[in-house]
């Protein structure tokens, strides 16, 4: 399996959300995704980046193209050292929000991608890995 160099965006300011989704879209285009999947990927990244911006003191989003014999895709990794998520099944429910948002972010990301893993430890932070495959 060969992997391109990883590209990361540190999320500190609000504009970093835009930077992350623009870079993600570029990587997705390079990986060969069509326009609809590019939009899905950019949207998923926007949700993950905004959550870092809103709920943590900082974190980053990293992308890489996965290119192996059978499949090509993009991996998106969101890492923060924020407060962590205590009840993961709760935040994965549509409509659950602690910020007056739509609560569509995390359950939405899960539907936008093909693989979704979330790991979180209270007081330590959260790590979310999402993968989308080129069809």
């Amino acid at each position: 399996m060969t992997m391109d160099l990883q590209s990361c965006v540190t999320i500190e300011k609000e504009w970093d959300i835009v930077k992350a989704r623009q870079l993600g879209r570029e990587v997705a285009q390079k990986a060969g995704f069509g326009t609809v999947d590019q939009a899905r990927i950019a949207t998923a990244i926007s949700e993950l980046a905004r959550n870092i911006y809103l709920y943590t003191d900082g974190g980053k989003l990293c992308f890489e193209i996965i290119d192996n014999v059978e499949q090509k895709g993009i991996s998106m990794l969101s890492v923060d050292n924020g407060p962590g998520i205590e009840d993961i099944s709760q935040v994965m429910e549509d409509g659950y929000s602690t910020s007056g948002g739509l609560g569509a972010g995390l359950p939405g990301v899960k539907r936008l991608v093909d693989q979704f893993d979330i790991q979180s430890e209270k007081g330590k932070g959260t790590e979310i890995r999402a993968v989308k495959w080129v069809r």
């Binding site: 835009v18 989704r21 939009a39 949207t43 949700e47 905004r50």
Partner: protein, 118 residues
């Protein structure tokens, strides 16, 4: 960054041409409500033809803008939502059910006239 709002008779027309960050979206919400108040506009068309991504935050701002304008007495129609954006909105579980939409600006103006019974 500010999104320009044009006045045409008693309608307001907006074409969103910039990459919308959260601040721009919130600023736009305020500017539009102010403009409705100042002009007494009865209808608003927001054209999204150039918008390549609508995430949950921007969707919330747009949905709120429609409701707030409605409270003030102005009908809003959203036009030109790209196919890829429509798909991602549904994936996000956002249906914008009560929001009038149309294919393009021209259809949007026709829809406004119908909604307003003009």
């Amino acid at each position: 960054m500010r999104i320009p709002i044009l006045k045409l008779h008693n309608y307001l027309l907006i074409s969103i041409q910039v990459e919308m960050d959260d601040n721009t979206a919130i600023q736009f919400q305020e500017d539009l409500l102010d403009k409705i108040h100042q002009t007494g506009a009865s209808g608003v068309v927001i054209d999204l033809t150039s918008v390549e991504i609508i995430d949950s935050f921007i969707a919330k701002v747009l949905g709120d803008v429609v409701k707030m304008s409605d409270l003030m007495g102005a009908k809003v129609v959203l036009t030109g939502i790209q196919p890829a954006v429509a798909v991602t909105l549904i994936d996000l579980g956002i249906h914008l059910q009560d929001v009038p939409t149309a294919l393009n600006l021209e259809q949007g103006l026709i829809k406004l006239r119908q909604e307003l019974g003009e």
